[in-house]
Symmetry: C2
Subunit: 300 residues, 2 copies
């Protein structure tokens, strides 16, 4: 049975645990999960696509800020533009590991950059970025760096009547711009950090404030409950900011980035998460050992 599903996954304990979990959830018995309760939730950065050297959304945002500084050079003296232009490595390291303070500073500036615009304008900018910008290590668009094994997992869960949500600290509307095309997941199944919007003159206009808090740490199960009325049955993540979401699920998988050849090798920002994984028996997925293909479009 396990051989016929999840073809990009090597046979081994991780794949077996996932297949066993799904079999239990759909088979009458002690582990059966009612169809209505079958909610799956996955982090995005580092769980569905590569997040090194920086989560891709920051590439998108930093380019926007570059344009803003070009148009208004005085901004170069103000944070976060200043630290960015100076390549302040401690600041960037905080971003890469999703340090809450760094993320918070960024989101405040991020919100300002698009305040007053419509969703259509924002979506179009994201699409241009997706089509034109290349990731530095692999020289391909970021969207080609989505993990094929995770797309198969989403498909496998969906086929077994799970409703799959993506729940990321990143921007909800950023992800929604490509969710349907890239993941086959409807926009309404994408949960993330989000700006407020107001309805003005028949349309939706973005405000300056983040609404409902950052979607990291305890914010993840809080956002999942707000969006769905439930906590997840299965969750997947890779970092400390995913701990509460993973704890809130019956079955948790955590991605271990240990393949510097085909992807990246790092543990920063995930130290506590792997301690919890060992304590709670989460299923550890090694990129190196558990995946025979890494990316969706033939890179690996």
């Amino acid at each position: 049975m396990a051989g016929s599903v999840l073809p990009s996954w090597n046979e081994g304990p991780a794949k077996q645990a996932i297949v066993d979990f799904v079999a239990g959830a759909i088979t009458p018995g002690d582990d059966f999960v009612e169809v209505a309760d079958r909610i799956a939730a996955f982090d995005n950065d580092g769980t569905l696509w590569s997040e090194q050297p920086l989560p891709p959304q920051f590439d998108f945002v930093f380019r926007k800020w570059g344009e803003e500084v070009k148009a208004n050079p005085a901004l170069a003296q103000v944070e976060p533009y200043k630290g960015l232009l100076a390549h302040d490595m401690s600041f960037l390291a905080g971003v890469a590991t999703q340090d809450p303070e760094a993320i918070s500073t960024l989101f405040a500036a991020f919100s300002r950059s698009w305040a007053g615009t419509t969703p259509e304008v924002f979506d179009a900018e994201v699409r241009v970025w997706l089509q034109t910008v290349k990731q530095p290590k692999f020289g391909v668009p970021y969207i080609d760096l989505i993990y094929k094994p995770m797309l198969e997992l989403i498909e496998y869960l969906t086929a077994n009547k799970f409703r799959v949500f993506v729940c990321s600290g990143g921007g909800r509307d950023f992800m929604r711009a490509f969710a349907e095309e890239a993941w086959g997941i409807n926009k309404e199944n994408v949960i993330g950090t989000a700006a407020e919007y107001t309805y003005v003159d028949g349309g939706i206009v973005r405000g300056e404030q983040v609404l409902g808090g950052l979607d990291i740490g305890p914010g993840k199960p809080e956002h999942i409950f707000a969006q769905t009325g439930r906590l997840p049955i299965i969750a997947g993540g890779n970092a400390d900011v995913d701990i509460e979401m993973l704890e809130s699920a019956r079955f948790a998988v955590i991605i271990q980035h240990d393949d510097d050849t085909r992807e990246f090798e790092y543990t920063a920002g995930a130290e506590r998460a792997f301690t919890r994984a060992a304590e709670l028996g989460w299923t550890v997925v090694s990129v190196k050992n558990d995946w025979n293909v890494v990316y969706g479009k033939g890179l690996a």
Copy 2:
């Protein structure tokens, strides 16, 4: 064709307009709507079930407050408990017509009543209320006063690949307690006014504050966009608090409560909405003339 769908709807301009709208949306041509964009949004009180003499949730909440006053008689001197015990008719009339100020006062007290509880406790209270309390005019549980024609409309839209959301000024979590059983709509497709929740010690606990504002007026399209990333293609409502949601849709239906025998006859709280309906060509659904059955369980 129109005869074989929506059997509780009489043949006539309202039913024809709905059938024509759906045919246009699913047929290649000028009015075609991509499957991904097929979002439908319906108000609840007065659109999916009877809202007279008061929206049913207020019966639920007022009983809770009755218990609170019994346990703590000093509350009887404090608003909103005081006005309620005194049967202050202007206050209750404001509630019945969803006056924003009355709704706001109520929600603040409402939030306090369940602060610190879990969703499971709240859901269980709603279920007991649904099973034990009877609506005064008809002497049946409120859940029996769901409009059968609207359930057929939800089913018809779903069969044509619309994703149907309920978007009410009422409490999101109140509606979610019965959405799946009563409407066949997943909890995650229910949008409403909602309390904040925090994730504490592995579980979700309700806070005191309303998160994201009241889901009335412009709040309706704002909440729909936040939940789904889109505005609705078709929307249904019945009151002034639905105007912005109805305006935001390509096709709008508005329920006219003109049947005092089988349901209720009233126009309060919907005066502006019917002016907009005439100006914008919304499809007016007369309970008296367009529905051959009103309720789901054989009352009419």
